[in-house]
Symmetry: C2
Subunit: 220 residues, 2 copies
Amino acid sequence: MLSYTEENYLKALLKLSFQNEDKPEAGTNEMAAHLGVKPATATDMLKKLKEKELVNYKKYGKILLTESGKQQAIEILRKHRLWETFLYKKLDFSWDEVHEVAEQLEHIQSAKLVDKLEEFLGFPEFDPHGDPIPKANGEMPTLEKILLCELREGEICEVVAVKDTSTVFLQYLEKLQITIGTPIKVLERIDFDGSMSIQISEEEARNVSMKFAESLFVKR
Amino acid sequence: MLSYTEENYLKALLKLSFQNEDKPEAGTNEMAAHLGVKPATATDMLKKLKEKELVNYKKYGKILLTESGKQQAIEILRKHRLWETFLYKKLDFSWDEVHEVAEQLEHIQSAKLVDKLEEFLGFPEFDPHGDPIPKANGEMPTLEKILLCELREGEICEVVAVKDTSTVFLQYLEKLQITIGTPIKVLERIDFDGSMSIQISEEEARNVSMKFAESLFVKR
DNA sequence: TATAAAAGTTAGACTTACCTAACAAATGTT
DNA sequence: AACATTTGTTAGGTAAGTCTAACTTTTATA
C-alpha cells in the first residue's frame, strides 16, 4: 500500500510525462517544483520509489515510471477525475473548485468505491475539464482535439477541453460563458500578435489573446 | 487546521462520551484501546490537544473535550455520517461496508463539500445505522428509542437504530432481513436466559439471544 | 491501611517526509 | 576544451506520530 505522499509523486510523474509529450521522463527539479518540495526531498523519495520498483531511476539519470508505477499512477488519476466529475455534476461545484477537493479525495482507498462511483456517474469518459478518465483497466478514452489557435478564419468548432486548468483561466472562461460543448466561430485572426476575434455561441464578437487561443482545445 | 490523527483523537473522545452515558470523561487506556495505539502514545497526543485547548486534561486526571474540541469532533462525526449515508443510499454499499470508507472520507477538508453533500442527500437526519447526523450548527436530531429487550410480550415495534455496529452483527441483521424501519413483534420472552422469540416483518417466529435484544434500538 | 493491581507517564528510540547547506555531475557557452 | 551555470545528490537535522521499557500515581482489595 502506498502512502499519500508516494501517490502524489507517482501522479506528478505521470502528469509530467503527459506534459513533455515526446519525452516521458522528468527531472528531479521539475518533480520537486511540481510537488512544492525541495529537490533534495524529491531525490530521497525517488530512491524509495525505485526500491519499490515504481520508477526507473539512476543517479543523475532521467526518471521514468515503471509499468507497475504507471498503472498505479493511472489509477490515482482515474480517481481524481471521477471525483472531479462527481463534484461538478452532482454537487454543483464550479469548474475551478473541483480540483482542490479532488486532490484529497483521490487518495481514498477502496476499489469498490471507485467502481461504484463510476457507475453512479454513468461511466463518464471525460472530466469537467475535458480530460479523459481512465477506465478500470487503465485504458484512456481518446478524443481528437486541436488548439483554438490552429483554426483558420471562418472555421467553426466546439470546445472539448482546457489545456490550462489554472483558476484564473477557468474563471475567465466562466465569465465568457464558455464550457465544454460551447460552439465557437473564428471571425478574424490578427497576425500581428496572434490574437483572434471569435464568436462564442450566438453572442457578439469578442477578442481573445494568443495565450487564450493556445489554452483551449476544440474540435472542428 | 487539525491533522488527520488529531481529528481521530477528538472523534474517539466524543464517541466515548456518548458510550459512557452518565460520565462524559474518558481514560488514557480507554482512548488508546479505541484508537489502536499504546497508552503512551495517547498521553503524548493528549498533551498536544491540551495545548490547543481542545481537551481539558491534567496529569493522571480525567479527559474531557472542551467546548471547542467538542464542536470540532461533532463536525467530524457529521461528515462521517453524511458520507455513510452517501455510500449506502447512492452507491449501494451494504450496511457493514460503509464505516471503513467513511473513516477516510470524514477527513476531507472542505466546508462546501459537506454542506453540498448534505443537500444532495436531502438533509437526512439519521445515518444507515440509525444514528443522528449533526446539523451544520452542531445540533443533533433526537429520536425516542429503546432497546428491543425492554419490550414486553405482545408488543409491536419498529427498528430505528443499531447499538452495536460490528460487522458480524450487521451481517447477521442483513441475513435476518432486518433494516431500519423493519417491524418486529415480541412473541415471547424467556426469563431463563433473556432470549426472546420475535416475528420479523411477516416472517415466521424466530429466537434471538439476550445479547441480540440488547443491541437493537426500536420504537414502539 | 498496607499493599497489589491497574492506570497513566516519562524517556529514549524509530520512521516518514520534509528541510538547509555543502558538494558533485552534467550541460551550455564562449 | 575550460569554465560557469544548472541540475542533482549527500549529510545531517527537524517534527509528527508511533513504539518499548521503566517508572509513578491512583485505585481496589485483602
